[in-house]
């Protein structure tokens, strides 16, 4: 059980809804993984195209919490307006706040992010900011009203895993009581497990599952990895050491020379 803004969610796996081969495969991935939160977006729709309604009907029936995003927004105004539109359509104060600063890396513009987070938090939104592992930015986001942080593992869609382990350890340690989600960059179940072993509260991923040869199998693998990683974290892992240390007792060993 993990809590975001007073809302408790059973699963620590959060899944995106994009890039799947078909809507039914997407729904199957959610079902088999037990993911509790789905990210969604808003896009243009023509009067003849009812794709939005069809999609919303499908996701609305999956029994998951909805986390709308501001994906693709590059300015504070764009992100804030998109958040307003999302709140009306999706009926939730939750918003995954993305303000993109660089086209190739999709790195967040953290200055605009903090500004938008302040505007939205003041308006009653419950902001999930997609950010870097920068400690000062994290502090400013918290001061802006965020009560969840979502540092990236690696660039969106890259599947590289956790690029800056030390930086992520530092942000985890610095803000120990803040619910924190690794968002983006996860490519393998081992990446997800690693994030959870480090004490992050959840992982959010999309491409790793949607672009796998078998999305449902990968979703299941991710769910198990998240659970294993979290359980391992809660079990208080041993400290690694540089030299060997025998696990079998030497006392009582026979002398057989």
């Amino acid at each position: 059980m993990v809590k975001f803004y007073e809302t408790e969610v059973d699963s620590r796996l959060m899944l995106g809804t994009a890039l799947y081969p078909s809507p039914s495969i997407m729904a199957g991935a959610f079902k088999v993984s037990g993911a509790g939160i789905a990210t969604v977006s808003l896009r243009r729709e023509s009067g003849h195209d009812k794709a939005g309604q069809d999609f919303w009907s499908l996701v609305g029936g999956m029994g998951v919490k909805i986390l709308p995003n501001t994906a693709g927004c590059h300015t504070v105004k764009e992100a804030v307006t998109t958040a307003h539109m999302a709140r009306e359509i999706f009926g939730t104060p939750w918003i995954k706040l993305e303000v993109i600063g660089h086209t190739d890396t999709l790195q967040p513009d953290v200055f605009a992010l903090v500004e938008a987070a302040k505007v939205l938090s003041d308006e009653g939104f419950e902001v999930f900011p997609y950010t870097t592992e920068d400690l000062i930015v994290a502090d400013k986001l918290l001061n802006a009203g965020c009560r969840v942080l979502m540092p990236w593992g690696a660039p969106i869609g890259s599947g590289l895993g956790l690029s800056n382990i030390q930086g992520l350890k530092a942000i985890r340690a610095q803000f120990a009581d803040v619910p924190m989600v690794i968002d983006a960059g996860i490519g393998l179940p081992s990446h997800a497990a690693q994030a959870m072993e480090m004490g992050f509260d959840a992982v959010l991923l999309n491409t790793a599952v949607a672009k796998a040869g078998d999305p449902a199998q990968m979703a299941l693998a991710m769910a198990r990895a998240v659970e294993a990683g979290r359980t391992g974290y809660e079990a208080d892992p041993m400290e690694p050491r540089d030299m060997a240390s025998p696990s079998t007792p030497l006392i009582g060993k026979a002398f057989l020379e």
């Binding site: 994009a18 969604v40 243009r44 009067g47 307006t81 539109m85 009306e88 359509i89």
Partner: protein, 65 residues
């Protein structure tokens, strides 16, 4: 009236945002709207009058990561 709807310039016979949605065949309950970059809530569409060149955005739920 000449409007830019979802990025496309088009002639729309409508005076208000609510009429734009109706004219273009949208279900008003399943889309969110903005005019010139500002959100317009569903309850405000009937009172939102438009002018030539206004940019209207009509958005609906989609897949997202």
């Amino acid at each position: 009236m000449k409007l830019i709807v979802n990025g496309d310039a088009q002639e729309v016979e409508a005076a208000t945002l609510a009429q734009v949605l109706e004219t273009l065949g949208h279900d008003a309950t399943t889309v969110a709207t903005a005019v010139n970059g500002d959100f317009v809530a569903a309850v405000a569409r009937e009172k939102t009058t438009l002018s030539d060149g206004d940019r209207v955005e009509i958005l609906a739920p989609r897949q997202g990561g």
